[in-house]
């Protein structure tokens, strides 16, 4: 140690021999970045939890919101997010395999597994775009009361009735989005004695027909979701949905971009020249973190 200190006396870099934590500077800093990022995400999810407890009656139940699955008819809650989770876990696996190939200085292996990881990343982003599209376009439609509370149409037992079923009498073609005016809906509601209003929350509390009729006179139709309006329930649900899944999606996007840059470097032989493939481990850490965050988003957005 003493010799080394003398040797590196004029160098601004640390020349202290063994790395105290056993990891290189780059890897350590990636870990510290991920640590701070983990705290940001826990902040978002905790804030969501707080509002969820606060607005329990009008906080939507995820099964009533995310019901679509491509090419499938009828309600298929949770299936699409399960598929998205599967895609992300699988791309995490291919990333570990790329790191593993890097340890063996196996360039072809790294190219194969990193390539698959990038494809997985694009598949996830595509799925998310699809889900956002359906979330924004709307599904069943609902009414906004005078005090901006959202109420669903339902039968007397609390089973949700969609706007299309109410106005047209039929469920409507799958995957299509129909839009109705407030007058159309109010007229259909007045004519149909079997339909009432209910809270979107998990209590599924329904209103009596008389109460519902009185409330309907000042209510307006809401279809789809934005930052200011949300047919699924409390508007903060939509805000948190856009913000949390959007922030996660931004992480996935930057992960894909980082992966592509490193992928090009691998093809050009940069890491063979450098003598090690540690860069794959660093982007790998970031990629696994994206998967890790999704595991929590999946639980707190869709399951709990």
């Amino acid at each position: 140690m003493a010799n080394e200190a003398t040797l590196h006396k004029d160098s601004p870099l640390w020349g202290g021999g063994r790395q105290p934590l056993g990891v290189s500077y780059g890897k350590q800093m990636m870990w510290f970045f991920l640590l701070s990022d983990a705290l940001s995400f826990s902040g978002f999810l905790t804030a969501m939890g707080l509002y969820r407890f606060k607005y329990e009656e009008t906080w939507p139940v995820a099964e009533n919101v995310f019901t679509h699955f491509p090419f499938m008819h009828g309600d298929a809650p949770l299936l699409f997010v399960a598929l998205m989770t599967f895609i992300l876990i699988l791309s995490s696996v291919t990333m570990v395999l790329a790191v593993n190939a890097g340890h063996h200085m196996n360039r072809k292996g790294v190219i194969l597994w990193m390539g698959l990881t990038i494809i997985g990343g694009f598949m996830f982003l595509g799925s998310q775009a699809w889900e956002w599209y359906h979330f924004i376009s709307g599904d069943k439609g609902a009414m906004k009361m005078e005090d901006s509370t959202i109420l669903y149409f339902s039968d007397m037992e609390g089973k949700i009735v969609t706007l299309h079923e109410l106005v047209d009498g039929t469920p409507g073609a799958h995957g299509e989005h129909y839009y109705f005016t407030t007058e159309q809906v109010r007229e259909a509601f007045t004519a149909n004695g079997e339909v009432t209003l209910r809270n979107p929350g998990k209590t599924e509390e329904t209103y009596s027909r008389e109460e519902a009729l009185a409330m309907m006179s000042n209510a307006e139709v809401v279809q789809g979701a934005s930052l200011t309006e949300n047919e699924y329930g409390h508007v903060l649900f939509a805000d948190f949905f856009f913000f949390v899944t959007g922030f996660h999606g931004t992480h996935v996007l930057s992960g894909v971009i980082l992966n592509i840059i490193i992928f090009i470097n691998v093809i050009m032989g940069t890491y063979d020249k450098r003598g090690h493939y540690e860069m794959i481990e660093k982007v790998g850490l970031y990629w696994h973190f994206v998967d890790l965050v999704w595991v929590f988003v999946f639980t707190f957005f869709y399951l709990v």
Binding site: G16, Q19, L21, Y25, V93, L285, H288, F289, T299
Partner: protein
């Protein structure tokens, strides 16, 4: 040059071959499937209230932490790092995240901003 700071990390061996990667994949897959199935059927006995939420939600959170453990320990390789580094990363997490959650949920209870 063996002490040059740009050299890669000391290599702590994970198990040989790739079988352990597929093992972790199977675990993650099975746990996710269990979560999805429970989430769809929502078995009535698990809807009993416990600690302010349902037993089912507690199961979901435990399974999520289990998945998180496997991702961090195996995929992110943290299990095979030196123990001082493991503590450097995990201690802030296990202290700060529960603290954050606790303080927001308890103090947030007084908040009536929109009423």
């Amino acid at each position: 040059m063996s002490n040059h700071p740009k050299l890669p990390s000391e290599h702590h061996e994970s198990p040989e071959g790739t079988w352990w990667i597929w093992k972790v994949f199977i675990i993650l897959l099975v746990v996710t499937t269990v979560e999805v199935v429970l989430g769809i059927i929502k078995p009535a006995p698990l809807m009993t209230q416990l600690l302010g939420t349902s037993i089912l939600n507690i199961i979901f959170i435990v399974l999520t932490l289990l998945k998180a453990f496997y991702i961090v320990a195996e995929f992110m390789h943290l299990k095979y790092e030196r123990s001082n580094f493991i503590w450097t990363i995990t201690l802030p997490m296990v202290i700060l995240i529960p603290y954050l959650t606790f303080i927001v949920l308890t103090e947030g209870g007084y908040m009536n901003v929109f009423e």
